[in-house]
């Protein structure tokens, strides 16, 4: 290999251009943004200062926005050699104390599963945005909701994650902030299940006054007055989650992916330790499903025919519900899942006391209908999936299917 003189690097930027940029999050007020951009701006607002990613359609725009914005806000961006290293690097960044993120689609999401699994066991907060596209395999490059189960079950082993499904540009911003808040509060990887439609849509984004937006940061042991000698890295604080120091803070934490005792010991194995360790990280999320999950209901009073939806499909579904109601079917109601995981059995049962039919349009062959059916097994006579692949359901598609059943 010949030794070539490396030329000096100078940023391609004039001083005027450098002054004109936004040095922080978006200012309060109305903006008109691409969904992908709104997602990145939400992350910046929440304090994300590390982005690592790999190009993949339809998520590359989020990465490109990160490349542009990270240095502007004092963060760092890197395009890694693949999705595996992108996701693994989030673990290092998070342990170094920084909110970290990547965005990808199906094929990349599959590659990230080992890192998600490690994140679950080590209780490392980070964000993965999956701009879903159809699969399996290379599938296609349009819209989909086919990875909703993979988000929950794709990582090997037990434990649990939190996932949200945005349906608008505003929610690409709001839900990203919410995702980080969940990650920091519950010390868990969080997945934002977007889709190609919402990522590539342009819509108004209203940023509230900054002091009105809640941003959560992980609790550190030093804030609680716990000294390094007394710190047990995997002992929950007040029964919730262990405090999380950053590397360099002096706590000398040895992060592990093996089953472990609260003090971090991995060599003294026992079935009891194993059960305690894994069930604690599982129950950390699942026992708080009703508290974590966000579900909204419309027209549930007197509802006989319930339409359930999540993500961008909610917009088609709500349009369909409104049209049916406008035409006299006032027994049609709507339930929207804003978070998909953990699945809140209790909350949903408290909202849906008894209906005849439940219609569930999904941009997949019927996935979330399974936990829904389990949850409301004794509360509805029929569960009808309305699948559609590759694009948003048109309201007519949903209306026609409903009419087929209810007339």
């Amino acid at each position: 290999m010949s030794e070539v003189e490396d030329t000096a690097f100078e940023p391609l930027l004039t001083d005027e251009e450098a002054k004109k940029v936004l040095h922080g999050p978006l200012p309060p007020g109305d903006h008109y943004l691409f969904g992908s951009d709104a997602c990145m701006e939400g992350a910046i607002f929440a304090g994300c200062r590390y982005y690592a990613g790999y190009p993949i359609t339809p998520a590359s725009e989020i990465m490109e926005k990160a490349a542009q914005r990270m240095p502007q806000v004092g963060g760092r961006f890197i395009q890694m050699e693949d999705e595996i290293s992108s996701a693994c690097s989030l673990i290092g960044a998070s342990w170094a104390g920084v909110k970290a993120m990547t965005a990808t689609s199906g094929p990349g999401f599959s590659l990230m599963m080992e890192a998600v699994s490690f994140g679950v066991m080590s209780e490392t907060p980070f964000l993965i945005v999956n701009v879903q596209r159809p699969g399996p395999g290379q599938g296609y490059i349009t819209s989909s909701q086919e990875d909703v189960m993979q988000a929950r079950w794709g990582h090997h082993g037990g434990g649990s994650i939190i996932a949200l499904a945005p349906s608008s540009v505003q929610e690409m911003f709001d839900f990203t902030i919410q995702a980080y808040n969940y990650a920091e509060e519950w010390r868990v990887p969080v997945i934002l299940l977007a889709d190609e439609t919402v990522a590539h849509m342009r819509e108004k984004l209203t940023v509230p006054p900054w002091d009105k937006v809640k941003v959560v940061n992980r609790i550190k042991p030093q804030t609680l007055g716990i000294v390094p000698e007394k710190f047990l890295p995997y002992e929950p604080y007040e029964g919730k989650v262990p405090p999380m120091p950053a590397w360099g803070d002096g706590y000398r934490v040895n992060v592990v992916g093996l089953v472990h005792h609260p003090d971090g010991n991995v060599t003294k194995y026992s079935p009891e330790m194993h059960m305690n360790c894994v069930s604690r990280i599982y129950r950390k999320i699942e026992d708080h499903a009703d508290e974590i999950a966000q579900v909204e209901g419309f027209f549930l009073e007197g509802c006989k025919n319930l339409v359930v939806a999540y993500g961008t499909t909610s917009r088609s579904a709500f349009e369909a519900v409104q049209e049916l109601r406008d035409k006299g079917r006032t027994d049609v109601g709507f339930l929207r899942l804003k978070t998909l995981w953990p699945f809140p059995d209790g909350k949903i049962r408290s909202m849906v006391k008894g209906v005849q039919n439940i219609f569930f349009p999904e941009m997949n062959l019927g996935y979330m209908i399974h936990p829904l059916r389990e949850s409301l097994r004794d509360r509805a006579e029929q569960f009808i999936s309305i699948p559609y692949l590759g694009a948003l359901h048109s309201p007519d598609l949903i209306i026609d299917k409903i009419r087929e059943v209810i007339g």
Partner: protein
Amino acid sequence: MKRYEIRIAGFGGQGVVTVGKIVGAAAALYDKKNAVQTQSYGPESRGGACKSEVVLSDGEIHYPKVRTADVLVALSQPALDIYLKDLKAGGLLIIDPLTVIKEVPRTDVKVVKVPTAEIAMKVGNRRFQNMVALGSLASLTGVISPEAFKKAIQEAVPPKTLKQNLEAFEKGMDYVRS
């Protein structure tokens, strides 16, 4: 306004997506309406029917795409062939007679022929034809103020072509007024 649906379609490179972006921005930022803009990546876009859609409303917009369009701007024959069926009865159809040469097979829509490519050439480059189409759209529909459009154009195009883009827009407006 409950829902006003606009679809712009043509060959890739005719600036169809830019027009959609500008309509959305003009409505959302400068005219205080709600606007959702989407574009297609699907197979039709490869064959000359690349489309951009905008749904406008004074209220909340649920379904973000066109159900039946109030306006269709077709800058290519394939665009017309594929999307004419989604134009509502009584809707507005704007076509460029240079590329849309076949007889329009519907009698229940209002057809306006605007030689966008020809007018754009007068401004300096065929590339400005999308702005001509936008001007005609603005004038014929009246759903968004010209001032809002002009502000949105300013944000969307590079400074060195701003003058020509605005000129093309004005010419498009003028053409349909005459």
